[in-house]
Amino acid sequence: MPPFFGVLFDGLAYGMLLFLMSVGLSVTLGMMNFVNLAHCSFAMLGAYVTVTLMNSFGWTFLAALPVAFVAAALASVILERAFFRRFYNSSDLDQCLLTIGIVFVSIAAAAYFYGTDEQPVQLPIYLRGSFDFVGLNFSVYRLFLIGTALVISIALVMTLETTRFGAQVRAAVNNQRMARGLGINVDGLFAVTFALGSGLAGLGGALAIELVGLDPSFAFTYLIYVLIVVSVGGLGSISGSFAAAMVLGISDTAGKYYAPALGSFLIYLVMIVLLMWRPTGLFGRR
């Protein structure tokens, strides 16, 4: 496969993954300005739940995916109710510190229960391997990933644009005070959105295992990428997250393939330049 298209394809798949993991954080940050750095811990939770179901209980991969979503969503609801809501008016720094503390605890917990080795996972036969089409070679799993992410993205956009719930979300992100004034139950809305976003992260985490591997440091390593996507894309913007995730996914893959000496270098530089040009993100509010 000519490297260019291969890199593009792989980059797209990676970008889709990043999108799934980031979109929840972008919307909740835009809506409540709550900096939840533990977002990727939910992704990691989804991943470990999937692994446990598959390896210890014999479930199939596809059956485990919805459970990953639900588990992460549930965990986020519990944390939000019990914990986070007291800090909605705290400073950025306090929220960062609080949620980083949770990240550390989650990493330690993962190491305790699962050890520090990478978790093995066996994809079902129909998701393995690759096939040729019009002279190009496509990995089945990456196709599956892109397909799934696209379906979810479309569902998200449709929900946002056509349903009443979506309209309320858009209003709350745009101007929280006014949305409350209009009688929208912003707190309840946020709880639902938060659960949804965390669930998507959990799903993304489960899907990521095959692509990037799973070990306890996952919650932290991917946090940085997710933060890049969210800050570059613009808080509260689904299209922003999508665009930024694509740019990031493709640049990172391209960088690693064409200029391995630059390594991760490239995306950090891209991020710095993009943020300097548009500090509130590509699609953020000015």
């Binding site: 890049i228 991760s264 943020l275």
Partner: protein, 329 residues
Amino acid sequence: MTTQTLAGSHDVLRAQIRWRWSEVAFWLATLLPFVLAPNYLVLASQVAITALFVLSFDLILGFSGIVSLGHAAYFGTGAYTAGLLSVWGWGEPLSGLAIAALAAGLFGYLTSFIVARFRHLALIMITLGIGLVIEEVANHASWLTGGFDGLQGIHTWPLFNTFRFDLYGYTAYSYALVVLFLIFLVARRLIHSPFGLALRGIRENGQRMPAIGAPTRAHIRTIYTIAAIIAGIAGAMLAQTTETVSLESLGFQRSADVLVMLILGGTGRLYGGLVGTIVYMVARDQFSGLNPQYWYFWIGLLLIAVVMLLPNGILGGLTLLARRLGMKP
């Protein structure tokens, strides 16, 4: 206690900057390791060096409100500069310190132009990005930095041609402690100067500052450069006393640790950073046998506890306690 007279106001302000007995006691206590724990002088010197680094971070985070996740870049620059000087044949400590300070300061000055222009999430991400970029550059320029293995062949000449840096750590701790104290005096003066007041103004309400005619960006550039110089000095001392420099000196881990130590001790108090460093590093040394995962478990709980219960860190808690007991801290 309020005063209406003009002279009274001057007295109140002067009283605020007087040396308290607790401060004097603190600095006298730093001499104790020589007597009470001579086997731990190497650790003590590392604590002093890290405390200097945390002090520099307090100047930008605690006093000016600049949230940076990449401050280790300047520490590492100082470390590598001093290390390289030694590797290339010049191991004199004090001049090495000066040159490293210059290098870190220059780097800080250049990046300050970027940092001063941004706030909130963009600032956090940009400082994080700068730190990560520097780490990657250092990693890939292994011909210069030794890459993953670090710099080899550092040998620090005796201080003033008499005091050798040895395994016992007398020289190392004396050196680090004196430098820390001298720079602390400078920082203390800065905090109590008009510039210090301006920095607190920026922290309290950055939006209002231009409305009273303040050149906010210029102020931020100044303090950021000063903080970079101090961080560079700390890094240089690390290179000189341990005779090693590795990538972790400018890694994200170090930037994150300095944040934890400052928050633990309490921001915006100068002494908070020092106390936080002592507690953190002594604890880490005691639990060094522990699996690193478990160490971060406790640090995680600690962060959560500090945010929920002790928002101003240890010193904040102690101040509250002292007030309740009727003492003046």
